[in-house]
Structure formats: C-alpha cells, structure tokens
Amino acid sequence: MSLTLDTAVSPMAAPPAEPGYWRSVFARLRRDPVAMVAGLILLAIVLMAIFAPWLAPQSPYSTSMLHRLQPIGSPGFPLGSDELGRDVLSRLIHGARLSLLIGVMPVINAFVIGSAIGIVAGFVGGRTNTVIMRVIDVFYAFPAVLLAIALAGALGAGLVNSLFSLTVVFIPPIARVAESVTTQVRSVDYIEAARASGARSLTIIRRHVLGNVLGPIFVYATSLISVSMILASGLSFLGLGARPPMPEWGLMLNTMRDAIYVNPWVTVLPGMMIFTVSICFNMLSDGLRSAMDVKL
C-alpha cells in the first residue's frame, strides 16, 4: 500500500480554498451596516478635507467686521459667520484638514513607538519586561488630559508641540496592549516550535509574532483616534494647541465661546463636527474588532 493511497487524498480531502485572512475580514466588515455607514461618513469628511480649497466658498481667513456673528442661512454665509466675520462653513471645511491631522498623526506615531516597546517587553519577558512596563505605568497613571496639558504647557503652545505631547500620552496604553498580546502569543506552541528549529529571537518576532500581534494592536489604536481628536481640540480650546487664526475645530469652539448667547447654533457647529468624526472612528474600529475576532 503506497503512502499516498491510505492518506487523505480522496477528492473530498482538500476543502475549497478559503480567501486569505484580510480579505475575509473586509468581507465581514462590509456586512456590518454600522461600520459601513461610519466608514462612508469618514470617507466623505476625508475627501472634504483633501479638496478643501475647491469646496470652500470663501477663504477661511478673510474677515469682515460688518458681517460678524451672522446666523445660519444668511446670504453669503450658509452656516453663519464667526466673531470676526469669517464664513463658518469655509472654516469648517478647511478645519477638517487640521483636525484630522491632529487626531490621526499622534496615534500613528504612538502606534509605531508603543508597539515596539510593548512587543519587545512582551517577548523578552522576565525582569526586563517588569522594568519597562513599570516605567510605562508611571506615565499611564496620569490622566490623559492632565498629562497632555502639562506637556503642552511646558513646551509652549503650537501645533507641533501639541502633536508631540499627544503622542507621548498615547504611547503607554498602546504599549500595554502590545505587551499583553505579545505575552499571550509568546507561549503558544508554534512559537515553541520556531524556537525548537533554532531560530533567533529577532527572527521569531519578525516572522511569527508580528503578523499575529499587529492586528489587535491596530484595532485598539484606531479606537484611540477619537480620543486624540477630542484631546487635541481640548488643547486648542485651552489655547495650548493650534493658534489663531488657524481654522481648527477646537480653536473655533474657543474663540466663538463668548458668542454663545448671541449665536448659539453657529457656536455649536465645530463641536458637532468633532463629535461626528469621533463617533465614526469609534464605530469603524468597533466593527473592525468584531470582524477580526471571528474564530478561524
């Protein structure tokens, strides 16, 4: 009896090829209505940000003292004007660029740095892990808002500085998630098998750990984008982030704040944009997590 005969090579043996992992994740994501709606809205806003100069009816910087604080629907100012007579609609559209940037960049940076720290700590384990993670914990112990304010205040106001301080704020939570996921993956049999083949740690991390670990960390990181936007807007609101006359949504909230009794609806608009974008990022990351969570 030949070897191949009594083994599983009957026509039924090889099951129909299933799509790769990521393709099946996206297929599941497409079937999630909430995530899809959120994704579309975000896409619209991103496009709006990209094509801002062409979409905005007026320049976001041109002031007009004659037309201060016009209500919504005024001629020439579809969404009203702010305290310096600038068109709010144009400022919202241009503001999307800054606000999205300020929301996403810190998270991307923190993702790279935090994952590296967490994965190394998780893989090496032992004392090194303890030392690294306890240092991280010190930063984690500060409430995010306070830490951001403290750092931004120390560095001085400005967009770049607030980007930096937000990055630092997000490194600890991402590092913690990275460490915990890596620790779980580290003790699985296929890692032991790789060690048994004689592979060195770096090779194992590169080929076996990363592929299995980056996914969950990524999903966690996307849930931080909304937090980042709100924090960034908060910093701008406090005068620690973007500086006038930049059309950043948080800053707009700050400068129009005095006019809330005069023109409440216009004042609220930047807040609504922040709210919408944050919620959409949240829904998308939730959907992504569910899509990735299915047992293969």
Partner: protein, 342 residues
C-alpha cells in the same frame, strides 16, 4: 494480565414488552445553517432505549454523535439549528416543549455530564451550593435539605471527605474529583435518563476506569437509562449493554455490545476494529481506513462510507442502504453484508 475480571452475566436487551421505551428517536435530522456554511449533522437517526438500559453511541469527530445526544435535551443553539423528526423521552415530545416544560425536563427527567467537568460549574460558587441550588429549584425544598442531599450525593459518588469537599470551589478539585462532582450534580434530581458526552476522554487511565465503574454501579443502583457517547471501543465495552455506531450523521450498525464487538458486520465497524494499534501488530502496518470522512455540508447520495469501503460497488454510491436485520437485535446498514459475514 487483568487480575480482576469476571465474565459478565448475559444481559439481553429487554424483550419488546408492553413497557414503553424511555427514549424514542424517529427519523432525526439536524441541520446547522450559518451564512457561510450549511451542515447536515444528523441525517436520519432512529434510536430506542429501554428503561434501565445503557446504550453507547460510538463514532469519530463529525459523525454526529454529540449532536444527537444534545438534541435529546435540546441543547443546540436555537437560531442556527433546524431539528426535524420526533424525539420522545419518557412519553414527552421533547421537540414540542415550551421553555418552561423544557426547564423542568432538564435535570428532573434527563441530565447530562460533559467532557470538561470544570466547565459545568460556575467558578464563583462552591460545588455544594450549586448542587443544593439545583435541588431546591427542582423540588422546592429548603436550602438545608438541598445541602443534605448534596452531601448524600457526594458520598454516593465516593468523594472522600465529602463534607469538606462541599465547600470547595470548582478549581480546587482535581480532574477525577470534579468529574464525580459533575455526576453528583447530574443525579441530584434523580433523573430517569443520564446523557454522557465523552465524560472520560480527558481523564487519565487510572481515573477513567474509576469513573466508568462508578457510573456502572450508579446505573445499577438507581435503575437509570444511560446514553454514553464515546470514540473509544474499550469504554463502550466496559459500560454498555447495547452499542450504536454512527458515521457521517447516520447509524451504520446497532446491537448488543458483545455481538457487535465480537462480530462486527458493517465495513466501517470492521475497519475501526482492525485499525486499532495493539502489541501483536508491532512491526507491521496497521490496516488503516483510507481517506477521510465526507464533508457534511454536502452529504453524498448513497452510502457515506462507500468512498472508503473495500467492498463498495455501484449500488453503494447511488442508493442509501437501510438497516438489515442480522438476528438478535443486531442490525447493520450495508448493501454488502454478504462480504462481511465471518
């Protein structure tokens, strides 16, 4: 080698008396449907169990044995499952029961023990409390009486230092001990039918034999009927009166366990017996059954075992064989039984 065996006194399958069988399954079909896959897990099973009888359903993974067992208590996920056929236990139609009736049925009429004893218990309560709670809910007695019954049960399942063990949490019990505790939980309301889903598969050999002997003894004392699911023929021989072999969602051979093990007639049962590793065969190849079980999302039209069967012919792949009587309650579903008569 075995120093303590006795020839078993012949226990015939009960004669078809006016007494109604405890369990009657007719033409059971179980279909699982998810958007991704449709699986026909059980494909027409007929089974009866008399009162006080022990039946083993023997099969490998994917044969449908666990699904059949769970359908007796409707423990399958409601939304994904479609059950057709008739399942009657103690005269009641299980498939037609309301939630309330089902709740009363589970525990009082039928109870189940599982492979992982640790999973049957809630980790945050002591085992004694959980057994007492079951008793209280089903029989409406006070908590003190419930605990007394739990103690009695622990003694019965031979847990040493029973009183102390009642206060233990599930994770504090060893494998064999927690399996005994699970048996105690299952027996707490004196069910007429005990369902056992591979309860000894995860246990060490010396513990497994203790649990099997315990189950045998309890069954004799309480006169329960038992349906035992396993993939191990030795276990089937130790514990049951009758055996039903399942393959690809159907029964292929049934009969008294002595008969089926001594003279299997279905090619699959024969294949299983002959592919077993044993010391006598050292140095030779095992006569393994070639190939693999069929994909249950598309069950083949004829006999499911045909692609792997050494005796298969054209009829086998086209038409489904019915059960043929071989005498004395021994039945097999095969077109080529002439080839397997010894």
């Amino acid at each position: 080698m075995k120093s303590d065996v006795m020839t078993r006194t012949a226990v015939q399958a009960p004669v078809a008396a006016p007494v109604e069988p405890l369990v009657e399954i007719r033409d059971l079909h179980v279909h699982f449907g998810t958007p991704r896959r449709q699986v026909q897990a059980v494909n027409g099973v007929d089974l009866t169990l008399a009162r006080g009888e022990v039946l083993t359903i023997l099969g490998e993974s994917g044969s449908g044995k666990s699904v059949t067992l769970r359908s007796l208590m409707r423990l399958l996920p409601e939304r994904k499952t479609r059950l057709t056929g008739s399942v009657r236990v103690d005269g009641q139609d299980v498939l037609a029961m309301s939630r309330r009736e089902l709740s009363r049925f589970r525990g009082r009429t039928a109870a189940m023990i599982f492979q992982e004893p640790m999973l049957a218990f809630d980790p945050v309560f002591s085992v004694g409390d959980q057994i007492a709670e079951t008793v209280c809910r089903h029989e409406g007695v006070s908590r003190r009486e419930g605990l007394a019954r739990a103690l009695e049960l622990f003694d019965r399942v031979r847990i040493p230092s029973a009183k102390r063990r009642l206060a233990n949490y599930p994770h504090e019990l060893s494998g064999g001990m927690s399996q005994r505790a699970m048996i105690a939980l299952a027996l707490s309301c004196r069910p007429k039918l005990l369902l056992a889903d591979e309860p000894t598969t995860a246990l060490d050999a010396t513990v497994q034999i203790q649990i099997l002997l315990l189950l045998r003894e309890l069954q004799r004392e309480l006169g329960m009927s038992v349906i035992f699911v396993t993939h191990d023929m030795g276990v089937a021989n130790e514990i049951s009166d009758r055996i039903a072999v399942m393959y690809a969602g159907r029964l292929v051979e049934t009969g008294a366990v002595d008969t089926v093990i001594a003279q299997p007639r279905h090619p699959y049962t024969l294949g299983l017996m002959h592919s077993r590793a044993s010391g006598e065969l050292r140095g030779q190849r095992l006569s393994a059954i070639p190939g693999a079980p069929p994909d249950m999302s598309a069950p083949p039209p004829g006999c499911a075992f045909a692609p792997r069967c050494p005796h298969a012919d054209a009829t086998c792949t086209q038409a489904l064989p019915g059960m043929s009587e071989l005498g004395d309650g021994h039945r097999a579903a095969c077109w080529r039984l002439g080839e397997t008569a010894s």
